[in-house]
Symmetry: C2
Subunit: 110 residues, 2 copies
Amino acid sequence: MTHRKADLLQGTLDLLILKTLALESLHGWGLSKRIRQLSGEVLEVNQGSLYPALYRLRDRGLIRSRWDITEEDRRVKVYELTRAGREALEVERDRWRVFAGAMERVLGTA
Amino acid sequence: MTHRKADLLQGTLDLLILKTLALESLHGWGLSKRIRQLSGEVLEVNQGSLYPALYRLRDRGLIRSRWDITEEDRRVKVYELTRAGREALEVERDRWRVFAGAMERVLGTA
DNA sequence: CAACATACCTAGGCACCCGACATAAAGCAA
DNA sequence: TTGCTTTATGTCGGGTGCCTAGGTATGTTG
């Protein structure tokens, strides 16, 4: 059973996170809800994928985190883009579009 | 150094192969050249990815192979789509488009 | 005859996504 | 006060599948 409907393509999760955080700083849980919502309920981010991805991005210096308290008195770890993250977002977005364009060129060949 | 320029997204290689073979039966080497050409020199398929992918697809019954001899007297293993392969191509293509559409929806959010 | 292109293939490594699980605290209802 | 659901953070093992780096063989060309 190779892919199940919700499977993400490897490599795209980072881009998704960078883009979503570029719109607004969020904590992990909210981030996964936001991605689902922005994608029209198509893209589901598993927790087992999300947190490792966040640490990866943090280790690469693309995002940073701080602990915060919500209005409901919940401890949350809020992530925000760094300057390097904003630059990486553009690079990754362009790379995605080149790739997706190439895919569409192949798929569209009669 | 996570991704290098030529990296493919996991899962897309199968689709690429199915689509390319739907246009014309080809042997492995020719297939990789054809994918590169169709994609406008963007997508490079490594041999270390190609052959395992072909066996995977064959094991799933989506393609079949036969030995042939080219005009230059070379032994080549020609792959062609099966009926199941043609069906899988449509499913995978649709899945790709749903996914790519969702990605673009997220990336295009202002 | 050497070098290159064509053609097949394998092995090991590693990135990363997933499912399952663990933990905890807040909200709420019975 | 007990117990369920939701919110929230995280870990771990497994598996898929791409990559790099090889190996082998044969035809072509300088």
